[in-house]
């Protein structure tokens, strides 16, 4: 039995529960991520302008280990749906995997309902854009080009094909935030996206857009675990240096 893994998950679960239950006196303060500040502004501007918001959730199945990135994308989509539910043009979400596309529809509908605008929800605003990475990108590019999109978000697990979407957004003069769990995609988005996010910043998108207790707690747990891992790496290096391991 992998006791270390079970212990780490158990510790994270207890910490998350504790932070969820504790009511903080002051709002949490995080480091500034300029990309997410710009995203927040772009979302507000889009609602005012009556232009469309575009969210791509990637091409990974939730049955794979990379499903976490897709779940982070869905959490962001929920925030976007709540913000833009009363906009003239509803936000569009695309996915390169069927179950993810269905969850995108469900999430959009939930966002509309929570804002009391359930009747404005259109089922075609959650779309399957293709079944393979490149066909998915090719299916999503016309949305950026033809549907009056002013801001796009690529949040999920993409491959290098994400650069094609970033290029399409650039040609339309649309704001584009790129966040992927895949390393090669992060490199491609660093070069091509207007605002790229690196590594775990992907999981902070919804918390920065609309800080709620659960997302704040989640970020705090990540910080604690990160420091513990840093400490473990340093201790391991020292022990190795002095020949104890």
């Amino acid at each position: 039995m992998n006791l270390l893994g079970l212990g780490l998950i158990g510790f994270a679960a207890v910490l998350l529960l504790a932070l969820l239950l504790i009511k903080r006196k002051a709002p949490p303060s995080w480091r500034v991520l300029p990309a997410l500040a710009k995203l927040s502004r772009a979302v507000d501007l889009s609602v005012e302008d009556g232009t469309r918001l575009f969210v791509a959730l990637g091409r990974t199945s939730l049955l794979t280990p990379r499903g976490g990135a897709a779940l982070a994308g869905l959490a962001l989509l929920r925030r976007i749906a709540e913000h833009a539910s009363l906009s003239d043009r509803p936000p569009v979400a695309v996915a390169g995997e069927s179950s993810l596309a269905l969850l995108a529809q469900d999430t959009l509908q939930a966002g509309y309902k929570s804002m009391g605008a359930g009747d404005l929800y259109q089922p075609t605003s959650g779309r399957l854009s293709g079944m393979t990475p490149f066909s998915s990108a090719a299916g999503a590019m016309p949305i950026l080009q033809d549907e009056n999109v002013s801001a796009g978000m690529l949040v999920g697990d993409f491959g290098v094909e994400a650069a094609l979407l970033a290029d399409a957004a650039e040609r339309q003069g649309a704001f584009l935030l790129g966040a992927s769990a895949d390393l090669s995609s992060q490199a491609a988005l660093f070069a091509s996206a207007q605002e790229p996010l690196i590594g775990e910043e992907l999981f902070a998108t919804s918390a920065y857009l609309d800080p709620g207790t659960s997302h704040s707690a989640s970020l705090s747990v990540q910080d604690v675990l990160r420091w513990l891992i840093v400490l473990a790496l340093l201790v391991g290096a020292v022990l190795k240096l002095i020949g104890l391991i």
Binding site: M1, N2, G5, L8, A12, A13, L16, L20, L63, P65, G68, A69, L71, A72, L74, A75, E97, S98, A101, L102, L103, D106, A110, P123, T124, R127, L128, M131, T132, F134, S135, A137, P142, D146, V160, E161, A163, L164, A166, D167, E170, A181, A188, A191, S192, Q194, I198, G199, E200, F203, A204, S214, H215, S218, L219, V221, Q222, L225, R226, I229
Partner: protein, 205 residues
Amino acid sequence: MRYLAVAIAVVTGVIVLLGYFLPALAGVQGTLLNWAIILAGVAALVGVFNLISVHWDKVRRREKGSVYSALLLITLVATFFFGIALHLGPDDPNMRLLVTAVIVPAEATLMALLAVTLLYASIRLLRRRTDVMSIVFLMTAVLMLAASVTLSFGGISPLNDIVRPWIQQVLALGGARGILIGVALGTLTTGLRILFGVDRPYGGS
């Protein structure tokens, strides 16, 4: 009904998670994962109907690019007809031809286009974000290209033998591990939020 969906999701998630650590739950975990795979297969079918619905809407409204939507619908129906109605399986040479003669060349074209797109994006990068990280990114890309290139007289030896392995195995590997640890922690906390029922990307609530 909403609470029932949450309860089923949470209990299923906990069992699947514990199945990785407790051998006694491995059988139940396997069964649940098999059910999930079947559901994902059904979702693929529903996804195809979503694709049809979106593109049919485009054709009906005569939106920009509706010709391509019509083409997609026609080819989809034709493939379905040849695949199902004529009992041609996925291993049938005619069905395989669809993949090798249409999908593979189309995706290869997009891959080639991507190379040009990335080159162009790299050139635009300095205009968009002139900072230290952009300069380091571009210099590293150029250095790695120069080190990897095969010239008529062979590679550029010091770059190929010393610089490239050092960048790949020290800088890039170290950075990649750091990023992956961050992604893993993010995945862990996101998964826990779903397990606790705090985030519910299902059930329309």
